[in-house]
Amino acid sequence: MFDFIVGHYAYWFVFILMAIGLYGMIIKCNLVKKLIGMSIFQVSIILFYVAGANKWGATVPVADPALGTADPAKYINPLPHTLMLTAIVVGVATMGVALALVITIYKRYKSLDETRLLEQMRKEDDTE
């Protein structure tokens, strides 16, 4: 049991980060705080992939003449890193769209509090 916990310590950190991110997205009322939570959540998944690519005693995946290319165990797995480059791009694009939406919402309602915004929305629905 102890080995299981210590041996996977990177993943425990990742899952704690993930829980913090989800908490921020769901519980916090301020839209910007929700976005901070979203960012933490996305980063935790990126760290999850990067942690999974790691190998003990291996080096960066750049061909080193001293090590040769015969034994893949000498290099860490580069594929998750490249996948995560794409995921980072996706995250940046999502954040860009989200911040643009936040700016529009603030200009129209002068508030970023979700409960207040929803109240306002329902009120406008009724008056229409």
């Binding site: 959540f41 992939y49 694009a93 769209v97 989200a98 939406l101 936040v102 129209r108 915004l117």
Partner: protein, 496 residues
């Protein structure tokens, strides 16, 4: 050349249009619409070619850049994917024909970016459907979601809030899916769906693989808007501009449905799913609850678009129930309902768009018999759509419900059968109250037929697609046996 590359041409032509439209239409605004229409028509044409190729040659694997999977990314054209791309492209083409006038009326100075974003959304949808690679699917999922957020946010004053809430939910969904892919990659060492399907049985229900299944279905369930995860849907559909909701509602959630069918039945397989997590059982129950909940909510709505949005929640419940039954009839019913619901919802949302253009609103209590005198054809299309939603033969809506009912009987699930039948009655309640208003109820203090209202139909560019969809509901209903035996019966996954 064109024929051998036909699988890749569908998303690529749309992606090209998404890039060309802002460049070409930057100075000449009028160019945006014809370019978008051409790209969509081309994609629909290629989808027809694709489905004919699949029916004659069998499953086609297209390897990008000549890299053989699992190293390279492949596109897979099998009966399921070719059928769903055709439905998505054909319905979007019809809605795009309709969109010109409603975009010009609702978004006068935003038409160019709007069409570019629509093209991006369709690229994403087609990519999700055609790809045979898990990570590629994630990228297309996010492309289409980002486009959807933009399309919703350009609506009225309240639309950015709806888009923001969808963005938060959608990102959670996409991230859960990505996490699931991570688990799959770490246990199987592959991202290719066919490769994972080959490796998965030899891993004997490893917990990481079961976790991957659960995470992916949860993530895709948010995109599909299955019952407790549907929170983003009603606001998003209601506050989006008419053209957006008519594009998103028929095809948007279906892509999530498709991905779930692909993951459950083609990657993990029925055997694995039955022995690991009760995913299919959960989906069936959530589907049954969604059917009842969505229908009851739809009855309570005053605004037609919002009513249609809640009815979408119910209709997605039918599809979820069909998947959850996990027997051939259930799958046939679910896939047939993907097509039927796309046609019905497109037809009804176009009707709502026509009403909005001509009457200036689509509020149900304000409709009366003058609407029918003023817009007889639009109202006729609405009637066909409504009858199909209720499930009256020979409209398409009857046949998918028929197969779903057969599926529940085959599994001996009488409770689900009851939910199906009760929901048909509930559908009748919320559609017939509108039909009653437009066909029977005269205004207070006014004779039933005073002939004072003159004919004032929607313009032809809006009326024709509405009627084409309405006629398709009848025609495809009559031809349903051809579709089911020709295409859908080939979709029934292995192991059933």
């Amino acid at each position: 050349m064109i024929l051998s590359n036909s699988p890749a041409l569908v998303p690529l032509s749309l992606l090209l249009a998404a890039i060309v439209i802002p460049m070409a239409a930057f100075r000449r605004r009028w160019l945006a619409y014809p370019l978008a229409l051409c790209a969509s028509a081309f994609a629909t044409g290629i989808s027809v070619v694709n489905i004919i190729r699949v029916l004659t040659e069998g499953t086609i694997h297209y390897h990008f850049g000549g890299w053989i999977p699992p190293i390279g990314i492949e596109y897979v054209l099998d009966p399921l994917s070719s059928f769903v791309t055709l439905v998505v492209n054909a319905v979007s083409l019809m809605v795009l024909v309709h969109a010109r006038r409603s975009v010009a009326a609702e978004l006068p100075d935003k038409s160019m970016p709007f069409y570019a974003v629509v093209m991006l959304m369709l690229t994403g949808f087609n990519g999700i459907i055609l790809t045979g690679d898990f990570f590629n699917l994630y990228v297309f999922l996010e492309i289409s979601s980002l486009a959807l957020y933009g399309m919703i946010a350009v609506g009225g004053r309240k639309s950015p809030i709806a888009a923001f809430r969808y963005l938060i939910m959608g990102t959670v969904g996409g991230s859960f899916y990505l996490l699931g892919v991570g688990f799959i990659y770490m246990t199987t060492g592959s991202l290719n769906m066919a490769d994972v399907a080959r490796i998965a049985p030899s891993l004997h229900q490893q917990p990481a693989l079961v976790a991957a299944l659960g995470l992916m279905i949860t993530g895709l369930g948010i995109k599909m808007a299955i019952f407790p995860l549907h929170g983003w849907l009603p606001d998003a559909y209601t506050y989006a501009p008419s053209a957006s909701s008519a594009l998103i509602a028929p095809v948007g959630a279906k892509v999530g449905v498709y991905a779930i069918i692909r993951v459950i039945f083609y990657v993990f397989g029925v055997e694995f799913v039955r022995n690991s997590l009760p995913i299919t059982e959960i989906l069936a129950w959530l589907g049954a609850i969604a059917i009842i909940y969505g229908s009851i909510q739809a009855i309570a709505q005053k605004e037609m678009k919002r009513m249609l949005a809640y009815s979408s929640v119910a209709q997605i419940g039918y599809i979820g129930l069909g998947i959850g039954l996990a027997n051939p009839y259930g799958i046939i019913g679910a896939v047939l309902h993907v097509m039927n619901h796309a046609l019905m919802k497109a037809c009804l949302f176009l009707v709502a768009g026509n009403y909005r253009l001509k009457l200036g609103h689509s509020t149900i209590p304000r409709l009366d018999h003058r609407v029918r005198r003023r817009m007889p054809w639009t109202t006729a299309a609405f009637t066909i759509g409504a009858l199909s939603m209720v499930g009256v033969p020979p409209t398409v809506g009857f046949f998918s419900k028929w197969y779903l009912a057969l599926g529940t009987i085959q599994n001996g699930r009488w409770l689900f059968l009851t939910a199906l039948l009760v929901s048909s009655l509930l559908n009748a309640v919320y559609f017939f109250r509108i039909l009653e208003k437009v066909y029977m109820k005269p205004l207070e203090g006014e004779a039933a037929d005073d002939g004072s209202v003159s004919l004032d139909e929607a313009p032809a560019s809006m009326l024709v697609p509405t009627l084409v969809l309405g006629i398709a509901l009848l025609l495809l209903g009559l031809l349903n046996a051809v579709i089911v035996t020709g295409i859908i019966s080939r979709i029934v996954p292995p192991g059933m």
